[in-house]
Structure formats: C-alpha cells, structure tokens
Point group: C2
Chain length 499, copies 2
Amino acid sequence: MIKDKYQSVKNHLQKIFDVQASIALLNWDQETKMPKGGAQQRARQISTLSGIAHELLTDRAFKSKVRDLNECLDQLNTEESVNINETFKQIERAEKLDTDFVTRRSALVSETYQAWTEARAKKSFSVYQEQLDKLIQLKKEEAERIGYNGHIYDALLEEFEPGMNSAMVDKIFDGVKNHLQPILKKINAQKKPDDSFLFKHFNKDKQWDFGIDLLKNMGYDFNRGRQDISVHPFSTGFGPDDIRVTTRISETNFSSMVWSCIHEGGHALYEQGMLSQNYGLPMGSYISLGIHESQSRLWENHVGRSKAYWEFHYPKVKNVFPEQFDGVSLNDFYAAANRIAPSPIRTEADELHYHFHVLIRFEIEKALLEGSLKTADAESYWNEKYKEYLGLDITDPNSGILQDIHWSLGSFGYFPTYSIGSFYAAQFHAQATKEIDNLEEQATTGDHSKLLTWLQGNIYKHGKRNSAEGLCKELTGEGLNYKYFEAYVQKKYGELYEL
Amino acid sequence: MIKDKYQSVKNHLQKIFDVQASIALLNWDQETKMPKGGAQQRARQISTLSGIAHELLTDRAFKSKVRDLNECLDQLNTEESVNINETFKQIERAEKLDTDFVTRRSALVSETYQAWTEARAKKSFSVYQEQLDKLIQLKKEEAERIGYNGHIYDALLEEFEPGMNSAMVDKIFDGVKNHLQPILKKINAQKKPDDSFLFKHFNKDKQWDFGIDLLKNMGYDFNRGRQDISVHPFSTGFGPDDIRVTTRISETNFSSMVWSCIHEGGHALYEQGMLSQNYGLPMGSYISLGIHESQSRLWENHVGRSKAYWEFHYPKVKNVFPEQFDGVSLNDFYAAANRIAPSPIRTEADELHYHFHVLIRFEIEKALLEGSLKTADAESYWNEKYKEYLGLDITDPNSGILQDIHWSLGSFGYFPTYSIGSFYAAQFHAQATKEIDNLEEQATTGDHSKLLTWLQGNIYKHGKRNSAEGLCKELTGEGLNYKYFEAYVQKKYGELYEL
C-alpha cells in the first residue's frame, strides 16, 4: 500500500520533470538555435507547458498522497523519505500562494521586465522605478504569505537557499567587510599586473576548440552533453544524461570564453554527477543555488585560476596562440588571470570585488523590503554604496542599478547565493585538499580525476539527501564559515600582491 | 455564447498545438543536436508529452463544445467552420479507437519496430515476419473499427489522404502502368548519360554554403527557420514562424545534398506560408500528406530538376567546384540530374521509377489487408514484383522488403501519398505555368518569386480550408488527373531520350 502510493508519487514527479525538461529544451533552443521569427510562438509554448507543470504539481490526488506519505516517513528508506519530504515542503510553500496571487505576480513580473528593458533603452531608472515599486510591494505580500521568523527577507531567501537566513548572511558579509575591504584597499593602491595580452585578437574557432578541450579536461562528458554559443553563458539540462553548457567568444578578450567555459562546466559536472535512477526526483536535484554556485566557483576559481592549473594548460595556450603570448611567462599569465581591479559591472568583477557587488544588492534588497529605503531613493543609495565599497562613481544607470535582470523578474533574495557559493567553494576545496594527497600536483599534470571523484562521491550523487548546512557539516565538520575563503585569499593574493 | 464557445475551443486547440510543437522540438533536437547519452530520457519526455496531448484532445468538455459547434456551423464564418468541422472529424475518428486498442497498438508497434531493427541487423525477413503479421491483424481490426465503404484499405488511407480511396489510387496507377512502363522500357534500353562527375569529391562546408544559397533562392525565410544536418533529411516546425529543415551531405555524392535541400525546402515553404493567425488550428495546417508532398516534389522536380533552374545555378556550381565540373556542360549536368535507371532502394529512385516502388508497396499492402497474401509470402511476392516492374533481382532483404520503416511503425496506407504528391505537383505546376507569364524564363534568372507568390496565395495560406480534391478542382478545374504528369514526362524525357 505504502509502496504503491510511493511509486505513484514517484511516477508523477518524473512526469512533472518530463514537462520541465521540455520547457528547459524550449528555452535552450531559444537562446542557442531558434530563428528570430519564432520568439512569439515560443513564448506561448513555454507558457503552456509551464501551466501544465503547475497543474500537475498542484494535482489534488498527488498532493494528498504526498501528505499521507509525509506522515509515515519512518516506513520509507532514506532516499524515499527525502523525495517525499522535499516534495511536501515544495507543495506547502506553493500552497501559501493562491492562484490569484500567482496570476497577479506573473502579470506584474512581465510588466516590470518590460519596464526594465525600456529603462535600459532610455538609460533612466525613473522610467522603471514606479513599476519596480509595485513589484516590491507584491514581494512583501509574498513574504508575509509565506511567513518568516526573523527578517522579512528570510521568507524570500528561503526559496533559493533553504536553511539560510539574513542574520547568517549578515554575519558572512561581516567577514567580507572586515577582511576583504582592507585587503582591497592595499591591492588597489598597488600597480596592476599587465593583462593587455588577454585583449589581443583571438580567432573564434581556435578559442572554441580550446574551450572544448578545457571542458573535456575537467571531466565534462560530451556523450551526455554539448556546448553551444549564446549571448549569456548558461548551463541547463534535461536529466543527468543530457546536461548542456553554452559559452560566448569574444575575439578581443580571451578571458571571456576561458573562465565562462570552466564556470559553466562546473555547474554541468554537478548535474552530470546526479544518478540517472533519481531522474526528476529531489534525490536527483541540486541542494540550493549556493551549492550549485559553489561547484561552478570551485572549478572556475580554485581550479581554473590556480597556478597549478595553468602550469599544464598555459603551454597549450601558447601553442594555439603563439604570437599573442610571445614573451608572456606563466607567471605573467597567472597574474593577469587574477588581476584585481574595481569595475561597475558585477558579471565582469574579479573574485574579490565580486562580493561587494553582491553585498550592495543584499543591503538594498533588505532595505527595500523592510521599508527603510524608498524605491525612489534606490538609485542614489546604489551609487553611494558603489562609491563607499568600490570607490566608483556610477554615471550610467545601465552600468549601475539597471545592470542586473533579477529584480525585474521578481528574484529578490537571490543575489546572496552567489557569494555563499564562493564561500562554500573555498570550504569544500580546502577539505578536498586535505583529503586528497597531492591535489595541487595532480593539477599541474592536467589530472583532475581525483577531485572530480571526490566531488561526485561527496556531493553530486547525493542530490538533495542533505541540506546545504548539513552537507557542509558532514564534509568539513562545521557549517559555512568565511574563514576558508579568507585563508584562500590570504595565500593566493598574499603571493600575488604585497599584503 | 457561440462566440465564447468557439473561442474556448480555439484556445484549447492552440494549447494542444503548443504541446505538439514541444514534442516536435524534442524530436528535432534528438535528430540533430542531442548527445547520444540523452536517448533514454528523451524517449520518456516525448512519451509523457504525447500522453498530455492525447489527454487534451480527448478532454470531455472540449469534445462536447466541438460537437455543439459542429451542429451550428452556419452560425460560424468559413474559417471557424473549417476549424470546428476538421476538429470534429479528428475526434470522431479517434473515438472509434478506445484506450485499450490504442494501448495495444502502441505496444505492438514498439515491438514490431524492434523486430524490424533486428531483422535488418540479421538481414532476414523471417525474423520479423511473425511480428509484422500481428501488426497487420491489428491494422485490420483498426480498419474495421473505423469503417469503410469499399476496400478495407480505404479506412487506413483516409488518415493520411482524406477523401482518397483505393479505387482512385488504382486508377492513377493504371496510368503509371500503361504510360510509364513502356517509356521506362525504352529509356532503359538506351545508353545512360554520364553522371560520374556528380560522384567526385565535394568539400562539406562548400556544399553546406551552396545548399543554404539554394534555400534562400527558393524563398525559404531563414528569419523563420534554419537548416541543420541529420542522418535522414526532414522538415519540421513549431508554428509557421519557425519551420526548420535538415539535410545530409555526402562528400562523394553531390546530388544527395542538392535535391534533399530543395525537397525539404519545398515542404518548409508550404509550412512557412501558413498564416500566423491560424497557429495550431486546422486553418493553419496542411491538407493531406499528398498535398504536402506535392510541394516538395514541385520544387524538387519541376523547379529543381529543370533546365531553366540550372541555367541560373549551374554557373554557380561551376564557380564553387571548378575542378569537379571541368569540361561538363550545362546539358551534361542537366542530363545527369535526370538520369533514369532502376535501383532497388525507393529513396534513391529517379522520379520515374519511383512510382513503381510505391505501386509495389500499395499492391502488397492491399493484398495483406484483404488477406489474399499471407505475410509469410510477402518477401517472395515483393521480389517477384521488383523483377516484374523494375527488372531487378533482389538478393539482400535490406535492399528489399526490409528497406522502409513505415510498416514497422504501423503506417499502412501511407505510401500512395508519395506518388499522389508527385501527380498533384505536375497538375499544379502545369496550372502555374498557364497562369504566370514566362515562368520558365523567370527560373533562368533565378527568380522564383512569382511562383512562390502563386503557391502561397492559392495553396499555402489556406491551410485546410479545402479538401485535396476540392483544392485541385478549384485551382485546375478538375480533380487529380495523371495526364499532367504524363505530359510533363513526355516533354522532359522526350527531349532527354529518344522516345
């Protein structure tokens, strides 16, 4: 009886995922292959399938079975319990928002996104401000419906980073402020390393081939994935046996392709590492955005910006682009790959300044949601913060408050997961370094197999078995702790700069 | 009230098409982009979405509204009437097959397809024969459930070519036998033109670019479509604003890419010519497989194998591949493009022998369904027919009875639409030639715009407004008549051969 009920829930979950995977393909195609003319029809196809997925998720009989099973988790094994309980939590959260609210939100998001596009075209925050304010009021309503214990922010953060709250994020950013701020002051007072060689001309096809080699070298399985070109790099998937990445190639900026390949490759390795048997189930799904980001950052920064990594790969770079790197030593390349300099755009930031970009958004989001900041004042607040934390004068709002898409889509509580991901990455990588003999030496020979096996065995294959905090404690003996990132920064940038 | 009911049916039909378009994308991706590993998960995604589309189509409230509206077609305008009545007919047909039958058929098709694959691997019809026989018995049951007036074959043919029946097909093939057979005898007794230059080495990328140019020249809109590579060329679409084609490129056979591009381009022009406002509705859908094929054949043969066409394009061919065509005149090329020679494989047949391939399948299908031929005797019957009609000795069943996938998928009644398409093409092209001044001369300058406009205005944009027969009468003053193909053959091959 229980077995039958569980099987029925499992089948239904996998059916929902079939639809979600189809939506993911409609989106992938839209970003990589679709002819321009198809946009309008594609939008309605995505919308219809989203509606079908929603109907399936809110199916009464299904929900009732999940509730019944959630009452007797002790009669299920660990994997089954995780699948049921995670589904139960998802349903509980969804039910706090009735259809009327979801419809209003969907319409408002669509209008706000359009206003944001228009504001960017006119380079004017005020075009967008009123609409954004409406969305913020709605997000406050959403937070109240969902409920929270501490700060109103927590209700929204929970969607992206379950188990995390704003007090914990505050604490982490204390580390950022106390530790990183003085370091950046010192670094920014010094002469920057030359990186002009990264901005010479680099043939597109040669870059493409080099990027494919980097992905293969990481252990990305092209039998269960592929790479394509898109305006903004992303990774997506339709089950663990088909996980795809995209990249972009600039012929005048070598770094653009290289580290986006490694970053998206990291995301994809996580997804390829899930077990096929858990297709469409919480046990086959990522834990949180922070944990997902930890895998892209671990590969991008701890592996892909390390000297050991380039000891193996830089000779290959020189082989493919001999003229561009003529007279550029490994040390020169490594210094350029880790060049620290403030810039107004988050997605172009180095791995240290990056966290101030996130901090600013976090502070503004909190203030807007708790009502201590009016939307009308958000732009001046933004610009003040950029002056304070990054020493920058923002004159163009497109390089300022209008730069990110997130708010226009109603994604409040999302940004902290980027920094959280980096800090988890540092903590996990430190642990891997402890547990795997000669990890750095392996990297110098281009061998990342032991690291990948460690990540697969400890993180990837477990899906949602653990919470983020639980996983972190299990692996490293403690919850998320900024000190690992601090130690990483200290060691790496202590050598690169006079700190 | 009526308006509301109609709007609700229309919305539902377009929702069904959203799902079908998503299935089409899952299939397109599977044939063109999907990494091998994704096959199993893709199969279940397609199966789930097919189930959802079926549920939507058999939704009780929807069906009841369609029935109500079908009772008062006089209160709807022409377009609305077509949408309702065509949907009504589709529902009526579907309802004759209950869920139990559909499930049995689906399982049997899946087993038969596997048996066919195995039979091909073992080059043995007997491996497959018993399974095929089960499927034939089921198709007989299907035909009985659906019902028919004349021959049992008609019930199945109706699905692919509504309005056509086996007596009409018989009559058409009388033309084929009486007219084409003696002609082929004469041609086959003559010396074949040299076509060895088509089988030299042709660079893949250059062929690709040339194929794209051919598509653009036809009027295929790359803003609402794209071309990719697949094992078997096909066209597919997700609404008229995104209609895609695929091709294959052989580096040792120039004709493979060229005429598959033009053929699939013809299919795609038909779909691109539907009106966006009729997205997902019968008014935005093709009339029958025969009419669809008429468009691919019209472009492939009447345009793409004409001398006028190559007067414009052959200099371009020579420009791209100067060595391969050194010393080859336009007349040589034109003769090679229309070289007539019997061969055992239907998909490689010339445009005359082709119809005997279809005739043989039609005769076997009819005999199997009416019971005058036992499945166990089908192979020897096949081989006898190939000897009789094409003078060929079939020794390898993979080049014989096992060559086509159709039967293994349960598609009985499908093959005649290929020939019907050719004959409609001849009839439509003759009419276009009558109505458009200097059509042939336009082709010599690479200008097909007037032809395309004629096809769009007379056929493409009307979707299912007319039946196939009705359209043919409206355009040409009479129903399908073999004599137009006869005249085309007479003129063209009379010049190429001594007839």
